[in-house]
Symmetry: C2
Subunit: 167 residues, 2 copies
DNA sequence: TCTTGACCCCGGAGTGGCTACAGGGTTTTT
DNA sequence: AAAAACCCTGTAGCCACTCCGGGGTCAAGA
């Protein structure tokens, strides 16, 4: 099985497959004489697993941990449960804030119907007013609230070339 | 007003403020004799606007477009409306897929209670089975469906150094 | 006066999870 | 035989920041 066929079978772009190999998520397959990668059924299964986890929006580091746990069948599964719990909590948190967001945007959208000049547009007016007012969550000063900006940054880890450790 | 005070007033990190200036989102302020940036109330207002838009999860390119529209008060506001519509649709789409996701994860979580070896863990079993089966959305072949991976990539635009154009 | 600390400057590299491309080689189809 | 489709490596780009190194500036305290 060459990389294109594996990609077809799993719905994963070949470039992405090579990327997974580069970061150590998918084991490097044997090569044919011409240098082409040759995959077997084990790779297919593993890649399908990865894709399914990604479809559940798990970060690749979590997927890596699950794969490792799969490879050690005698370990306790507590780590699996915790990982899923954490991820689920994360998803639910995002869901909450997205719901708030959608409500705010719908309300904002209602501020303008039809055509005016931008100087009279209710949407722009509301945006400017809200940005100035105190009522908006984005203005509570300090870190006391549990509200976070939708696009939260990632904590930084340093000097990793191979993104995921090899074993 | 120096950069630190502006950051305090708006809740934006000074590094982020410099970043906004670098990409042309916030106009460069005058400098004092020592090279420090000196901001006025106009900057404060603009930055608060930016932050409020970001709190609504708008991409910076959209914020830039809104700022431009604010600066041209005689233009028609149709662009504003379309921009908000598009963004709202985007948010609602993400909300939908997150809801599906949360349901799937909750169901998955229910597969394991208490401790077993990973070889017997219902969660891992389900993940492997789902990845192999045909029932899962992540396996529909081709692009015919309206389902998309949660972390969808952005289309690519080329050779932009200054991320947002200057005017 | 000296030192400590809080600010400020700049440029460059790193984050995740890919995607795109350049510039070559190989295989398959027409 | 030529064209199309596939494969290889390596690098750079996307977003919206964040962090760091290596320096400069300016106040208050010992
Ligand atoms: Zn699946
Ligand atoms: Zn309007
Ligand atoms: Zn706000
Ligand atoms: Zn379990």
């Amino acid at each position: 099985m060459r990389i294109g066929a594996l990609g077809q079978a799993t719905g994963v772009d070949p470039e992405t497959i090579r990327y997974y190999e580069r970061i150590g998520l998918l084991p490097a397959p044997v090569r044919r004489a011409n240098g082409y990668r040759a995959y077997g059924p084990a790779h297919l299964e593993r890649l399908a697993f990865i894709r399914h986890c990604r479809a559940l929006d798990m970060p690749l580091a979590d997927v890596q941990r699950l794969l490792r746990l799969l490879d050690h069948p005698l370990d306790d599964c507590q780590d699996v449960d915790r990982l899923i719990d954490t991820h689920l909590a994360h998803v639910q948190g995002k869901l909450q804030s997205l719901q708030t967001l959608a409500r705010q945007l719908e309300q904002l959208r209602g501020r303008c119907h039809g055509q005016h000049a931008t100087a009279e547009c209710g949407i722009l007016h509301e945006l400017v007013a809200a940005a100035q007012g105190e009522s908006c969550v984005c203005h509570v000063d300090g870190r006391a609230s549990d509200w976070a900006m939708p696009t939260a940054p990632h904590p930084r880890i340093h000097k990793i070339k191979r993104v995921l450790s090899p074993e």
